[in-house]
Every structure is written in structure tokens, then in C-alpha cells.
């Protein structure tokens, strides 16, 4: 008896939804076993990582704060991933977006009212992220450079731009020589949370954008063209969907979203830009995008789950003393599992009884 793979005519919708859920559950089970083997209290570590942040109301602010940038970035990335255009440098676009917004803030008179300063900074953030993503877009459409490598290389360049600016021209004169910018003024900042709630402003933006992307992806010609370019490039060309335009538009959108996430994070959470600003959201968002099956609603839920693992990872660190790196391993395991389970979406597994060779040989010729 062996297992045979049969290609499905259309992807299984059930599996499309069931496999991400199964991946998360399996990650938890695997995690418990591995921690037990490493000498920690396995079930407790998993409880602290995956459940505590959900059941403890005082952790909700943290979860929503982490979820906001992940969702915003991953929404943009999902669009590109559908077209098989791989922007893996969102981290760099996130950094440059925040720096662009900060640059506008520092160039502006401190007294500029909030209704001018806040939108100006946000727009600058989006444009900054787009500009950084425009480099790989140009390189891909003009010189056919793989965007996988160029976007990633630019992350390292963006980090050096950040280091240079916060340690040099934009260094806070009152910052005790720490590499950080001066704080944004009150009118240049957003509150941590919307007063009276546990909801950070970025999360409201994330909800709104989820709806926008849902309409864009499932109800617009543009969303259809992106999927077609990814699934059947020659059919897309025949249908008049321009590949270069798709490269540009998906990279501009994902870069702009990453830049938006960056400036929102800087304005509402840090209130300045310092060395700790690049925190890996741009990379984790790639996992969010796949765990969410590139669908806006899926991305929204996946963003919340990954945010839970971030917050829960810290809880488990103090409660069960597991090392800091665990959250990263959980996230990578989830991505491995979701990618592995892809096969169930595209193929049907059939159990085949002992090889039917004898029967064929005996059949009349």
C-alpha cells in the first residue's frame, strides 16, 4: 500500500482554510514536545506563548500594537506574492518610510499644528517606502535583476542609512550621545492607544486597509490581473495585462504599505527613531502573508496570531525561562508547515493498494 498524489483540477477551498489552522495547532504541539525535550515545562511554555496573550486583558494592547505593522505590511506583500513578485525587503522600506516621515517632522516648524504635521509625516512615510521599493522595481523592469536579491540587499543599505542619520546629522543633541533622533513634538505624534481603549491607532488603519485590500483583491480588475500574472504569465500577456506594470504597481503598493507601517510605529509607539527601531516586522510579515494564504482577511487573522507569538514569547521568557529566540523558531516552523501543507491544497492523497502489476500482466492482450 502506498500513497499516490493526484492533482486536483481546482485548489481545495477546504484545505486552503484548514491547513493554516492545522499549521498553527501542529506548531503548538511540536513546540510542546521540543521544549519538553529541552528540559522546560513544554505545555506551560506553549500555554504562555499562545494562550496567555489572548486570555490576559492586560496583554491585549501589546498584541494589537504588534499586529498593526505586521498586518499593514503583509497586506501589501500578499498582493505582490500573488503575482509571484517577491518583495522580501519590506524591513528596509519600513525603515526608510519612518526616516522620511521623521525628516519631514524635523524640517517642519515645531509649532506646526497637528492637522498639518501628522498627515504630512504619514504621506512622507508612504512615499519613502515607495521610493525605496522603486529601486528594485526599476532594476527588475529595466535590467531584469531578480527582485528577491535586490530588495533584500537594500535592507542592509537602509540599516546603514538609519545608523548614519541617527548617529550623525539627526542625532539628538540632548540624547546623552546615544544614537537616536530628538523626540517628535506633541503635534507630530500619535497616541499609543486611542484614549479610553486598548486599540492603537495603527490597528485602526490595519482594519481599514484590510477592507480596502479585500475589495481590491476580489472585486477589481486590478486584483484579477495580479493573480493572472502570477498564475499564468503567458495568458496574462495575451489578455493585455502588462507584466512590467504589475512589477511596478505591486512593489509600489507593498513599499508604500511598509513605509506607512514604519512611520505609524515611529509616531505612535517610539516617538523618535533609535537603533532599536528596525525590529524585524518586515521579515515576519512575509510569514503573515503566507499563513494568511495571501488573502486580506487571512492576513488580518495571521497578523494577530503572529503578534500573539511575539507577546507570548516574552511572557514565556519570564514565566518559563525559555530563551528569547523561541518566538522566531515558532514563526519559522509555522511557515514551514504552511508551505508543506500546500501540497494538500493542490493535490489529493490517495491510498493505493499493492501494485496492480500482476493484474495488468494477466489481462488479455
Amino acid at each position: 500500500m502506498r500513497i499516490r498524489l493526484e492533482k486536483r483540477l481546482t485548489p481545495s477551498r477546504f484545505m486552503l482554510v484548514a491547513t493554516p489552522v492545522a499549521s498553527v495547532l501542529l506548531t503548538m504541539a511540536l513546540g510542546a514536545v521540543i521544549f519538553e525535550l529541552l528540559g522546560f515545562d513544554g505545555p506551560d511554555a506553549i500555554y504562555q506563548t499562545f494562550i496567555t496573550p489572548i486570555v490576559a486583558p492586560y496583554k491585549w494592547v501589546d498584541v494589537l500594537t504588534k499586529a498593526a505593522p505586521l498586518i499593514i505590511i503583509a497586506l501589501g506583500l500578499s498582493l505582490g506574492n500573488q503575482a509571484k513578485i517577491w518583495n522580501i525587503g519590506a524591513e528596509g522600506q519600513y525603515v526608510i518610510g519612518a526616516l522620511a516621515g521623521a525628516g519631514v517632522a524635523f524640517a517642519m516648524p515645531q509649532a506646526a499644528p497637528g492637522f498639518v504635521a501628522v498627515p504630512a509625516m504619514i504621506v512622507a512615510g508612504i512615499i519613502g517606502g515607495m521610493a525605496w521599493a522603486a529601486i528594485p522595481a526599476l532594476l527588475k523592469t529595466r535590467f531584469r535583476v531578480s527582485e528577491v536579491l535586490s530588495t533584500l540587499m537594500l535592507v542592509y543599505v537602509a540599516m546603514q542609512v538609519l545608523n548614519y542619520l541617527i548617529g550623525g546629522p539627526w542625532k539628538d543633541p540632548n540624547g546623552h550621545n546615544f544614537p537616536q533622533t530628538p523626540p517628535f513634538s506633541a503635534t507630530q505624534s500619535l497616541p499609543n492607544v486611542i484614549p479610553g481603549t486598548v486599540v492603537p491607532p495603527g490597528f485602526v488603519v490595519a482594519i481599514a486597509l484590510t477592507l480596502v485590500f479585500w475589495v481590491l483583491a476580489s472585486r477589481s480588475v486590478y486584483g484579477f490581473s495580479v493573480r493572472t500574472v502570477g498564475a499564468a504569465p503567458s495568458a496574462a500577456r495575451y489578455g493585455g495585462f502588462d507584466a512590467a506594470r504589475t512589477v511596478w504597481s505591486t512593489l509600489m503598493i507593498s513599499g508604500g504599505m511598509a513605509g506607512l507601517a514604519g512611520i505609524l510605529e515611529a509616531m505612535s509607539q517610539l516617538g523618535q527613531i533609535n537603533l532599536g527601531f528596525p525590529s524585524g516586522y518586515g521579515f515576519t510579515a512575509i510569514i503573515v502573508s503566507f499563513l494568511g494564504r495571501l488573502h486580506p482577511v487571512g492576513v488580518f487573522l495571521a497578523g494577530l496570531i503572529l503578534a500573539v507569538t511575539y507577546v507570548g514569547g516574552q511572557v514565556a521568557q519570564t514565566a518559563v525561562h525559555v530563551p528569547e529566540a523561541t518566538a522566531g523558531i515558532f514563526q519559522a516552523t509555522m511557515l514551514f508547515l504552511i508551505l508543506a501543507s500546500d501540497i494538500l491544497v493542490r493535490y489529493r492523497l490517495r491510498l493505493v493498494r499493492a501494485a496492480p502489476r500482476a493484474a495488468t500482466a494477466g489481462a488479455p492482450a
Binding site: W86, I88, G168, F283, P323, E324, I329, F336, L339, D342
Partner: protein, 313 residues
């Protein structure tokens, strides 16, 4: 500028080039077989932490042999981690870009987890195989003063060039990368060959990573490979998938990275040190643009690079 300075610079260049040359030589074989493994950075880190941990823990019982065992363990760990990628990509037909990224993220996390207890510990650096009178000669040290890994890297790039272009097995591997369906139909085990290539790439990345933790700075630090795995990937494109050009390209990047070190150390630079730190990455992008633009027909890359192959369906 005196001769001592030039010798110092050459020694540094050879040192910083070695890890990317090792990793890129492995990835060259992987890509020639038609597989794109973006997880080099993760495999290097797993190799780095494994080599360090084994050398440290067996230092007492194995004595002089400990670093050799450490390097072997780094190769094994790199290969083992690459099998995770290989299973998903080759047996389950998952997307190679996403799976490679997952491996990179996984390697960063796993190496930090394993290495957490080693931070701050130091081992004896693994360098100098030749006797002192050769290795410490003011001029001779350019050729003889290095870690065995330096010579290993040079031997491997030549061996891989020979293997790919002059042997029957190398021809079969290239055939698998150029046209998997044809290779399969005339009876070559496409998937098995690709598994072997990916394992080789993983082992080489592991050894390359161990160069950071055992030779350059004989200690463990999180993400100590600092993005060199990605440079190694760019290097393979730069080489147009040829071993000879890979060697030249690796030294080109080695020179850039050495400039960064010198600019930082001397402070003579009129440009900020961050500019020099970003330089290898900027140059990698420029080089990718030049090479990709030249390859108009896209004929230099293996034709099946990154394409899934599922024979049993």
C-alpha cells in the same frame, strides 16, 4: 605605502573572502541542479554555532583535533538543515523562494537558541596549518599564514569547476538543471540528484558559517554572519553560474569588505563609515544589474532554476 601594509591588506582580503566563497561554491552546485535555495544565511548560522559548540565542548577530549571535528559537525549541521528545505521543495513541491526564506528565518532563530548559552565564551582560533617559519614569514604569510579553511575553499571551487565541466556526473547534474523533464525521461533520478546537490550546498554553507565563529572571531554572537549569506547568493548570479568567475567575484567582494574594515579602523575616510558598510550590498546590486542586463536571453541561468518538479503526478 609600505610592503607590510599591502601584506596585511592581502591577508585580510583572503580572510573575509573565504566564507562567502565557501557558501557560494555550494550554492553554485545547488543552482546548477535547478534548485534555488535562499536559506544560505540560515545554514551558515547553524554551521557557525554548531562548529563553535562542538569545538568548545570537545576541546578537552580531542585536543588539536577538536576544530577539525567542529568543522565536520558544521558541515553536517548545514547539510541536515538543508534537508528540511529539500524535503519541502523536492518532495512536496513547495515554493522555493518562500521555503528558502523560511530556512533563513529558521536558521537565525535556531542558531540564537543554541548559541544563547555560549555568548561571551571564546575558543582558540582555528588558523595556521603550516609551520611557524612559513606561516609567520613577513612575506610568506600571504600564502601560508591562513586557516586550513582558506585552502579548502580554494580547492573546492576548483574541484567544483572541474566536476561541473569535466566529469560525467557533473554533466548529468547540469542536465537536470537545464531540463528536468528530459533528464527524468531518459532515466536520471532528478529528485535524488537535487537532494544530493542541496545537501552539498548546505554542508558548504555550514563550513562557510563556521569560518566566522572559529576563525574570524573565535566566539559566538547572534547573527554573526551579518548578511554574508545573501552576498553569496548574489555572487552566484554575478558568476553567471561559472566556478572561475565565482572565484574572481568573491575576491572582488572581499576587497570591498576589506575597504570597509580599513575605513573604519583608520578613520581617514572622508565618507561616513556607514557608507563603507553599505558598500558591498550596493555593489552587489550594481553588479546584479550589469550581469542581468548583459544576459539578454536569460540563457546563463540554469533553465529550470526555481521550478518545481513533481514526477509522480
Amino acid at each position: 605605502m609600505n610592503i607590510g601594509f599591502i601584506i596585511d591588506a592581502l591577508v585580510t582580503i583572503i580572510g573575509v573572502t573565504t566564507p562567502i566563497l565557501l557558501a557560494a561554491t555550494g550554492e553554485l552546485v545547488v543552482e546548477k541542479s535547478g534548485v534555488l535555495n535562499l536559506g544560505v544565511e540560515g545554514m551558515m548560522l547553524i554551521g557557525a554555532v554548531t562548529g563553535f559548540a562542538v569545538t568548545l565542548n570537545f576541546g578537552d577530549s580531542l585536543g588539536d583535533w577538536a576544530p577539525w571535528v567542529g568543522i565536520g559537525a558544521a558541515a553536517l549541521a548545514g547539510a541536515a538543515s538543508s534537508m528540511l528545505f529539500a524535503f519541502l521543495v523536492l518532495s512536496l513541491g513547495s515554493n522555493q523562494v518562500a521555503t528558502g526564506l523560511a530556512l533563513a528565518i529558521f536558521g537565525i532563530g535556531l542558531s540564537s537558541l543554541i548559541g544563547a548559552s555560549y555568548v561571551g565564551t571564546v575558543i582558540a582560533p582555528f588558523n595556521q596549518v603550516f609551520p611557524d617559519w612559513l606561516a609567520e614569514d613577513p612575506i610568506g604569510r600571504v600564502a601560508f599564514g591562513h586557516s586550513p579553511l582558506v585552502y579548502f575553499a580554494l580547492i573546492m571551487v576548483v574541484a567544483v569547476g572541474y566536476f561541473l565541466n569535466r566529469t560525467r556526473a557533473g554533466l548529468i547534474l547540469r542536465a537536470v538543471g537545464e531540463n528536468d523533464i528530459s533528464a527524468h525521461s531518459i532515466g536520471y533520478p532528478v529528485v535524488a540528484i537535487r537532494y544530493a546537490a542541496v545537501a552539498f550546498g548546505g554542508a558548504m554553507a555550514g563550513v562557510g558559517g563556521s569560518y566566522f565563529s572559529m576563525v574570524i572571531t573565535p566566539m559566538w554572537a547572534e547573527q554573526m554572519t551579518a548578511g554574508r549569506g545573501w552576498i553569496a547568493l548574489a555572487l552566484v548570479v554575478f558568476s553567471s553560474w561559472r566556478a572561475g568567475r565565482l572565484l574572481v567575484g568573491a575576491y572582488f567582494f572581499g576587497i570591498l569588505m576589506t575597504l570597509e574594515l580599513y575605513a573604519k579602523a583608520s578613520g581617514f575616510s572622508f565618507l561616513p563609515s556607514q557608507f563603507w558598510a553599505a558598500m558591498p550590498y550596493i555593489m552587489a546590486i550594481v553588479v546584479l544589474a550589469v550581469m542581468s542586463a548583459r544576459d539578454v536571453a536569460g540563457s546563463e541561468a540554469p533553465a529550470c532554476l526555481g521550478r518545481p518538479f513533481m514526477p509522480n503526478s
